[in-house]
């Protein structure tokens, strides 16, 4: 055969093959056409397995990948209004003053997408499963606190606690940010042998406003359920978004967000995951229709609940010496961090919790202010740092690094490439300039190193306090202080142990957040956190989400708080963000 003919034939065969297989695997769906102006396009990195919608499925389900549009909680929390939003439950109250009993009253109209009503049976099933199935995420909380769950009638559930549980309602039963549990349909899951391995699929009955209609490696498509109970119940008006497309932006090389940013500029995406501050500024400059939580002003976003510290393994030499921890904190120039990474926005922090209304009040209280002036947790002072290092027995070696017994301070900061690749290199250099032998690790072993306590330093957030500082401070309680060589739980990387500190926390536990005694104890605990430099607080975490108003308006912003929810469509409250959008036409 002639070469030219051969190659043409080969090309034709290949093209035909590609097309055939593509269409085979895509599986010949046909969906009704929905015009772009009725469609919401979200850019997100989808990692969960195709077809897994069941909230109890272990390695798959995550509310972040638009499954929050299918599953609802008893109530939501509008963080910027500091206000609860009743949802499946009309009310949820502690019915004993020592926080040992909770009564839940469900909405009469609430129903699953297959027409079955949502009843106390579903709530009991959800709670009992969490309590008895150790593969479910809130198993520990239920086991620790819940004594029994009783269905009083079709729409009323009473939860009895083993001990005072003043934060249980908010932490576990209320959906906000990434925490809380959705209610699952008992009539579906009680018939399933292994709920952890049940995928759910596109058609699993759910209570939320959108039905999953297509899911492939590229995208997930949801269509509006016009029969949604919440509209009939008067919770909300009929959503204007007819179709939601969550498009997989994938784990690009170097997490190349520029492609994503450009697609926002091109009006391909209506919203995406959060951006670096330099990038979001450029998006706004290039497309005037795009706005942010703080409109077109820095910091172009809102405070997330995940303030990041340089966590320190307090049991590992030489970090076990509080002077070394303090010396490292003194090397962190928080002003400079604001300036070079965050374009001047005041992101750098000295707290292990986000400054939401309740917490800001606490941070500004006289007791805390006094401690701050005394301990100067945000101080940048290399000379003082050097003094402390000398006092701790270190000497400066020929490479300008501190050394003791021939060993430098091997400070490899373990972090996560996608979210920390701007801040960690800067921290490393700040530490190096002060004589700490620092380096970066963005490897997939970063978490392992934290959990095993092999390394000394980790860049990580505190996903804890939202209303009062208890949960954040409790992270450092001795009961979580795993010995070196054993595994530390998530957010327990400090391995810190101090009876004085524990006593404060134990006394705080049964108290409500607004109790004056609680505030007093919390200030003392924060004082110890600063004094001992349990970890080195670095930055508040911001969500700089671009909101494209070409097709959709009414995004939750400072000027227009809507229901007070944060604008992240991937948070549990994302369902409310999507449902309240208004068409720009």
């Amino acid at each position: 055969m002639k070469i030219s003919k051969l190659s043409i034939a080969l090309l034709a065969i290949t093209t035909a093959f590609t097309m055939l297989t593509t269409s085979l695997f895509a599986g010949g769906h046909s969906l009704a056409k929905v015009p772009r102006e009725q469609t919401l396009v979200l850019g997100w990195s989808i990692t969960s397995p195709i077809g897994v919608t069941n909230p109890f499925a272990s390695t798959g389900y995550t509310h972040q990948e638009a499954n929050n549009l299918m599953w609802e909680g008893l109530s939501y929390f509008g963080i910027f209004n500091d206000e609860e939003i009743p949802w499946l439950a009309d009310s949820m109250e502690y019915t004993k003053s020592d926080y040992t009993q909770l009564t839940i009253k469900l909405n009469a109209m609430a129903q699953w997408s297959d027409g079955t009503p949502v009843t106390s049976k579903d709530v009991v099933f959800t709670f009992e499963s969490q309590k008895n199935n150790n593969k479910l995420p809130y198993h520990a909380n239920f086991k620790q606190f819940v004594d029994k769950v009783t269905a009083v009638d079709d729409k009323t559930v009473v939860v009895d606690f083993k001990m005072p549980a003043p934060r249980f309602k908010f932490q576990v039963l209320t959906l906000k940010f990434d925490t809380g549990i959705p209610i699952v349909p008992a009539h579906v899951l009680s018939k399933v042998d292994n709920v952890n391995e049940y995928e759910g699929g596109n058609d699993m009955p759910h209570s939320g406003p959108y039905n999953l209609v297509l899911w492939d490696a590229n995208q997930k498509i949801y269509d509006l359920n016009t029969d949604w109970w919440a509209v009939k119940a008067g919770r909300i008006s009929m959503p204007e978004v007819k179709r939601v497309v969550m498009f997989n932006i994938g784990g690009q090389v170097g997490q190349g967000m520029d492609v994503v940013a450009q697609r926002v500029v091109n009006n391909e995406f209506d919203a995406t995951l959060d951006m670096r501050s330099s990038v979001i500024g450029n998006i706004l400059r290039q497309n005037s229709k795009v706005t942010t939580h703080s409109a077109d002003k820095p910091p172009y976003g809102y405070l997330d609940w995940w303030p990041n510290s340089l966590w320190v393994n307090t049991q590992l030499e030489p970090y076990s010496d509080a002077r070394v921890r303090r010396a490292m904190s003194l090397l962190i120039n928080r002003e400079l961090i604001n300036e070079i990474i965050y374009e001047g926005a005041g992101i750098a922090t000295i707290y292990p919790f986000p400054l939401y209304p309740g917490l800001e009040k606490f941070a500004n209280s006289a007791a805390v202010k006094k401690l701050e002036a005394e301990l100067q947790p945000g101080l940048y002072d290399p000379d003082k740092s050097a003094e402390l290092m000398k006092a701790a027995g270190f000497t400066m070696n020929g490479d300008d690094l501190w050394e003791k017994d021939g060993k430098t301070v091997g400070a490899v900061i373990n972090g996560f490439e996608g979210i920390h690749s701007d801040i960690v290199p800067v921290l490393v250099e700040m530490l190096r300039n002060g004589g700490i032998d620092a380096d970066i690790n963005f490897g997939t072993d970063a978490y392992q190193n934290m959990a095993d306590g092999k390394a000394g330093l980790y860049m990580f957030g505190h996903g804890a306090s939202l209303k009062d500082p208890y949960t954040a401070l409790e992270l450092f309680h001795s009961r979580y202080s795993a010995a070196l060589g054993t595994t530390a739980g998530s957010n327990r990387f400090s391995r810190y142990s101090n009876p004085e500190y524990d006593k404060l926390l134990d006394e705080m536990a049964p108290l409500g957040g607004d109790d004056p005694r609680f505030q007093e104890l919390a200030a003392q605990a924060l004082g110890i956190y600063w004094r001992d430099q349990i970890d080195i607080p670095v930055i508040q975490w911001l969500h700089r989400i671009p909101y494209n108003q070409t097709y959709w308006t009414n995004w939750p912003t400072i000027a227009n708080p809507s229901l007070g929810m944060n604008g992240a469509f991937w948070a549990h409250t994302g369902m409310l963000v999507v449902s309240t959008l208004k068409s720009a036409k």
Binding site: T15, T39, P49, V253, D258
Partner: protein, 331 residues
């Protein structure tokens, strides 16, 4: 006999590749299951206390608590039946399912670009060596060798910036337009094709240089062969000599290089796919690497190895059909 020998050889290749991929990750003590749950915990939604228990129970489910050699034999046994196990990340999806879903994209991209770069590269290489082509043609075509020094990944980055960002004439990324429902219509296929152009160009130019170089070498060697000289003396037109004697004979050995080159093409395709967000094998592989989904990593590495080994064997078996000289020699 020859066929059986080749088959045994392929098996040995697969065995050694699976042994390497099995043991290398064990030199570190990363527990992929814990990493996965830690990531979920980081995203929120997990109270931390019970994490280790969950990890433990899953380790058991995946057989990670068995003795190493037991795991090894189980694993090799699985590989031989194309059972690469299940994905940790996308459980309960099996690795084979993930491969099957992503394979068409990769095959499409690789086949088209490999054939195009093979055809263009060899033609250019042949022209570079052909003594009758004008001097400037030889100069220009020889300079194509410089493409060897341009990694496809760089081309991909530059193409996205200049063609997609600045000129905005081709899609930036993805396999097809957002919100499009894949079906077997002409519009959809056109849409897919448009999305394949930039990654295709990156791959074609990335592998062109090698073909030009080897073809040029081959061409110069062939010129001296008796049959070419004979054809010249027969007074055949230079086009006929170029096409039927020179190109054809020089091209044959290149075919054997094709299978081996596939390994390199796949390497490039993996990174290019990831940059362009095409949901092919490379995309799945990089995602798996980032999430420590080690069974998926092994599975894809092995699958590609098997593919390359089988293709090499096939080419070796089919080669005699293409080249009559070898056909005779073998009998």
């Amino acid at each position: 006999m020859f066929v059986i020998k080749r088959l045994l050889f392929v098996l040995l290749v697969v065995w050694s590749a699976s042994t390497i991929t099995f043991f290398i990750p064990r030199i570190s003590d990363i527990n992929p299951i814990r990493e996965r749950f830690a990531e979920l915990a980081r995203l929120g939604g997990f109270s931390a206390g019970e994490l280790e228990k969950i990890v433990e129970s899953y380790s058991k489910a995946f057989g990670l608590d068995k003795p190493l050699m037991q795991q090894y034999f189980d694993y090799i046994g699985g590989v031989m039946t194309l059972d690469f196990g299940v994905s940790l990340n996308k459980f309960p999806k099996t690795v084979l399912m993930l491969i099957a879903e992503s394979l068409p994209w990769t095959i499409g991209l690789i086949l088209v670009t490999t054939i195009l770069s093979f055809v263009i590269g060899n033609l250019v290489g042949a022209l570079a060596a052909w003594p009758l082509s004008p001097k400037w043609v030889r100069g220009v075509s020889t300079s194509f060798i410089l493409f060897q020094g341009v990694p496809p990944v760089l081309l991909a980055i530059l193409l996205i910036f200049f063609v997609a960002f600045k000129l905005n004439i081709l899609p930036i990324a993805g396999a097809y337009s957002i919100g499009t429902v894949p079906d077997f219509t002409f519009e959809f296929l056109l849409d897919v094709a448009r999305h394949q152009i930039l990654p295709g160009i990156a791959l074609i130019f990335g592998s062109l240089g090698t073909w030009v170089l080897s073809m040029r070498g081959m061409g110069i060697t062939i010129q001296g062969e008796d049959y070419v000289i004979f054809a010249e003396h027969k007074g055949l037109s230079s086009y006929t000599i170029f096409k039927d004697y020179y190109l054809r004979n020089a091209l044959l050995p290149q075919v054997t290089a094709l299978a081996l080159a596939l390994g390199n093409v796949i390497t490039s395709a993996i990174v290019v796919e990831t940059i362009f967000g095409l949901p092919g094998l490379g995309f799945v592989l990089i995602t798996a690497i980032r999430s420590n989904d080690f069974l998926v990593i092994y599975g894809i590495v092995l699958f590609i190895t098997i593919a390359v080994a089988v293709l090499m064997a096939l080419v070796e078996l089919l080669y005699p059909l293409l080249d009559p000289r070898v056909r005779q020699g073998q009998e």
